[in-house]
């Protein structure tokens, strides 16, 4: 039976973790993701969830505990936010290279300095090079669904990669929303039990992670590259399967919104897309030929999906809710990745960057309107007017 529920994005992921019967999770408090662990703790105490929650000594410990549990064959999760995610930095590559498919819930948060509880994407984007698959959910439903899909993709014997289920701090972690919790039977059909190729087992003893010679390094890393590329096909396959089974059909990589006849599109990820869609509706009524592209994955970055549709538009305004100081183009990560994806596409659109929503600020309708006006100026000029605009700081309208 699907159950209709009204709760937060964090609770929704806890619902997913309950459905998949995780074995081990590791907790440590940091705003804004903490409530998911409190929810797990409650459900363990009242017998709803049959897993162990280890009170880790810190985020580095959390990731390590989940790693160990996964090596022993358990389905393991953890989570964090902000500087907690960067504190765990040492572990991202060992876990991905060790092919341990743990799942990490991220309630994103601006990095210090100084303390800022507001949402920004920089925290886990900073770790994007280490070989995990991840992307942002725009609401509680998608967070739950992404969690289920990530287990399925990550634990697939052809993949075996750890996953990050990311969501905007406060906007998705804390705002109460309506969502559906799928039926246990359907989830059991969708996700088989976790059976890794290798686990720590005295009856099948193995040595995990010995020191290697330099010349063994490249082939191991090539393998990691191959599997990351293979994940793209698996994402398509699983997203389609999910749609068939659960009735919610997601675009595997890029959600298009009102792109019919759009000459300009916003490109972004996460919860600000909700406001963006509303703004796009107003803008269309006001005569702006604008639409929206929403990324569901940032690793593997969906370059092929973007290449396939890029030539439909004349201007892409990439919105980064995060920073990458000194990056080419003066904006953030998504700006660089988007430009790189379509750099060789014939008839490619002009790509300009916007940095907005930093520090946990809402991106207002007004700001979307101003960004649209700036894109319109680019459209008129037929070339970049300004490579990167930090909204409210160096707007050119």
């Amino acid at each position: 039976m699907t159950t209709k529920k009204r709760s937060t994005g964090l609770t929704a992921v806890c619902d997913a973790w309950q459905l998949v019967d995780i074995d081990v999770t590791a907790s440590y408090p940091i705003r804004p993701y903490t409530a998911v662990m409190a929810e797990v703790a409650k459900r363990i105490a009242n017998g709803q969830m049959k897993c162990e929650m280890v009170y880790a000594e810190g985020e580095h410990g959390q990731f390590s505990i989940a790693h160990g549990a996964s090596m022993a064959g358990a389905r393991a999760t953890t989570g964090s936010s902000g500087v907690g995610l960067t504190y765990a930095a040492e572990l991202y590559s060992p876990i991905a290279g060790g092919r341990c498919p743990i799942q990490v819930l991220v309630g994103d948060r601006t990095l210090d300095p100084p303390g800022d509880f507001g949402s920004e994407h920089t925290d886990c984007l900073t770790m994007r090079d280490n070989g995990w698959i991840f992307g942002w959910a725009q609401d509680a439903q998608e967070a739950l669904d992404n969690s289920l899909m990530c287990f399925r993709i990550g634990e697939d014997p052809d993949i075996m990669l750890p996953q990050i289920v990311a969501m905007d701090g406060y906007f998705v972690t804390h705002i109460t929303q309506d969502y559906e919790v799928p039926d246990q039977d359907l989830v059991d059909r969708f996700l088989p039990p976790f059976k890794p190729k290798f686990r720590l087992d005295v009856n099948n003893p193995v040595i995990m992670g010995p020191q290697i010679t330099p010349e063994m390094g490249p082939p191991l890393e090539w393998d990691r590259n191959v599997v990351m590329q293979r994940a793209k096909g698996k994402i398509v396959e699983v997203t389609e399967e999910f749609g068939r089974l659960f009735g919610r059909h997601y675009a595997p990589f890029v959600e298009e919104y009102m792109t019919e006849g759009a000459e300009m599109v916003f490109l972004l990820q996460g919860a600000h897309a909700v406001t963006c869609k509303s703004a796009v509706k107003y803008l269309r009524e006001a005569g702006y030929p604008v639409g929206m592209l929403r990324l569901r994955w940032v690793r593997p970055f969906p370059e092929e999906a973007l290449q396939a549709i890029a030539a439909k538009f004349k201007v892409i305004g990439v919105i980064d809710t995060g920073t990458s100081y000194g990056a080419a183009g003066g904006g953030g990560v998504l700006l660089v990745e988007t430009r790189a994806s379509i750099s060789e596409t014939p008839d490619k659109p002009i790509v300009q960057g916007f940095t907005s929503g930093l520090g946990g600020e809402v991106i207002t309708h007004d700001e979307f309107f101003r960004m649209a006006e700036m894109m319109r100026k680019t459209l008129e000029a037929g070339q970049l007017v300004q490579s990167s605009t930090w909204v409210n700081f160096n707007d050119y309208v």
């Binding site: 060790g98 040595i207 995990m208 992670g209 063994m216």
Partner: protein, 97 residues
Amino acid sequence: MAKSYPEVPFAAIVPCPTVENDKMVTGNWRSLRPVVDMETCTFCKTCWLLCPDASVVSDDEAEEISFNLKYCKGCGICSSVCPVDAIRRVPELDFTD
């Protein structure tokens, strides 16, 4: 010409050895070889227990000590701990094998 790399195991996970780890043979490190005088030896097995490389072979039935020269590094601990000085360390160059 593209370089060809060795086969690498999944996620750098390798099987455990069962008798010896012959991917790291160390007998050629040795410059002094242990030689035991079984007449003097009391078969206390101290040398056997304390060899870092498990290269002192103890035949419990025959009560005889010998050495696994494939791996013995010649550290001399066996000789040093022997309570009756039954083990000498002899230059490798003195041997023909």
